[in-house]
């Protein structure tokens, strides 16, 4: 279950974004009512064997051998797709699934695993991001005429809404809370929720997950986090190359590297789970090997939520075939340095014992994607139109960071 940046509920953190704001808002409906009753048709449809349109991104990942949210969440109930019937029938949840089926998808359970989007308060303006997730990008988009209005204030700045969430958390049997922004560390609600959980003594049983953009450090929040039973730290970075500054606009690669090392030290001291969180685009796919190398050397895993879907003109599949072949060759050259153990697909991407093999499998999934995903280079002119507009605002130039792309961008009107 998810509460998105505008305060609307979503039945899954990975569900595709269409119509996402047509679901109830935290002001209209309590989180527990949404979970127990409003989500009933979703559960009922799944129990009837229907494929939900919202699951399409996970199915695309499965097609290319990439571990996805569907598999990861199923695993938390003991269910594995490669042995579905046996593992489902053995799941501790089987009786609950039966009860839910008898009651048209309604459940008496409370959420155990939530993603909470804290709003769009962010000091970065990543090139693939949206105004709903970055206040800095929203301001820029309005200035250059890409949007007429900036998004409304973050839902969690409203004390009443935030208290509604906190009350629901205290009533639920929470195992895992995952926070994203905006940038979590500069969003006041993040600190307030952590503080409340510690005051209510729930930090001894709850695992906190969060992602940070590696541009800021807040020691007060670090001091709160180290009190929790477990922390899953996600560090957002696209490549270990200056191109990261262009893609994750507002960041500086040297600061990013230093901040990563600082987090890794804290994580090692406190036995946290660390992941690099990436969103490969047509640009960063070129230097994706630098991410895997960094992660391999430090025995940490790499995770991306999906194969980028929106904006469609920034998908890696927009890369023309001859450039795609070079990107594939770079990834394969990196993969050839290591031995892929012939093991089954690693679904638990947070087990450090599997980290290196996991990222080899993840890199292979991007090779599979680039080799088989349909050519979308017809979107290059749209990409160039966007670049012209955004670079006029930022006074930068993609070719300063990625000169290898000059021909393909020039041929599309750059």
């Amino acid at each position: 279950m998810r509460i998105n940046n505008s305060g609307h509920y979503e039945y899954c953190r990975w569900a595709v974004k269409a119509d996402r704001n047509n679901e109830p808002n935290i002001q209209q409906q309590s989180p527990l009512y949404y979970f127990q009753f409003h989500m009933a048709p979703v559960r009922e449809a799944m129990l009837k064997g229907q494929t939900l349109p919202g699951c399409s991104e996970c199915y695309l990942q499965e097609q290319h051998g990439k571990v996805n949210g569907r598999q990861r969440q199923l695993l938390k109930t003991g269910v594995r797709l490669n042995d579905f019937e046996n593992t489902m029938l053995s799941s501790p949840w089987i009786d609950e699934f039966v009860n839910s089926e008898r009651h048209e998808g309604v459940t008496t359970q409370t959420p155990q695993d939530w993603q909470i989007d804290l709003g769009n308060y962010c000091n970065s303006a990543c090139i693939f991001c949206t105004p709903d997730s970055s206040s800095r990008l929203a301001t820029e988009y309005r200035r250059i005429g890409l949007i007429d209005e900036t998004p409304r204030a973050n839902w969690c700045e409203d004390t009443e809404k935030l208290n509604t969430l906190i009350d629901a958390l205290l009533q639920s049997k929470i195992k895992y809370l995952h926070f994203i922004g905006g940038e979590t560390l500069i969003t006041p609600a993040f600190k307030k929720i952590l503080l409340t959980l510690v005051e209510e003594n729930l930090h001894k049983t709850i695992t906190i997950g969060f992602t940070t953009n590696l541009t800021v450090w807040d020691q007060d929040i670090v001091d709160l986090l180290v009190q929790f039973e477990q922390v899953n730290l996600g560090m957002s970075v696209e490549c270990l190359h200056p191109l990261n500054d262009y893609v994750r606009y507002g960041s500086n690669i040297d600061t990013v590297k230093n901040t990563m090392e600082q987090w890794i030290i804290v994580a090692e001291q406190n036995h946290w789970v660390v992941q690099l969180r990436i969103t490969p685009t047509i640009f960063s796919i070129w230097h994706l090997d630098t991410i895997y190398q960094y992660a391999y050397d430090r025995n940490i895993s790499v995770e991306s939520c999906n194969f980028l879907n929106e904006p469609d003109y920034m998908r890696p599949s927009v890369l023309p075939d001859h450039m795609r072949a070079q990107a594939i060759a770079k990834l394969k050259a990196w993969l050839s340095n290591y031995t892929v153990i012939d093991s089954e697909q690693i679904i638990n991407t947070r087990n450090p014992a599997f980290a290196q093999q996991q990222l080899l499998q993840d890199a292979q999934s991007y090779v599979n994607y680039l080799e088989t995903q349909a050519d979308e280079s017809f979107r290059l002119p749209t990409l160039v139109d966007y670049l012209k507009l955004i670079e006029y605002s930022r006074k930068n130039n993609i070719l300063d960071y990625l000169p290898e792309y000059e021909n393909i961008l020039r041929s599309a009107g750059y």
């Binding site: 003991g78 501790p92 947070r350 087990n351 014992a353």
Partner: protein, 86 residues
């Protein structure tokens, strides 16, 4: 298998292969295996891989097998319902 009802109607079992001899157990049976012999359960290697868990030459796998395997193979959390008892 198309629906959840179809799944519930499935007659699932554990094919326990000990040194080439296969016997069939119920999904929720406790398994007691001679730890000196190679064994698989539904194709999953159990011995000698988990021999270090044996006591006095016997590996006892508590029911259900798949929950044991989830934990022992490092699959992470196994969440349980609020009212779960076993």
């Amino acid at each position: 298998m198309k629906t959840f009802s179809d799944l519930l109607a499935t007659k699932a079992s554990l094919a326990v292969d000990v040194n080439g001899t296969v016997s069939y157990m119920c999904l929720f049976d406790t398994l007691v295996l001679d730890a000196t012999k190679p064994a698989t359960v539904n194709g999953i290697e159990v011995l000698p891989k988990y021999r270090y868990l044996a006591r006095d030459g016997v590996l006892t796998i508590p029911s259900p097998f798949y929950s044991w395997y989830h934990k022992i193979s490092g699959q992470g959390w196994l969440l349980i319902p609020d009212n779960f008892s076993q």
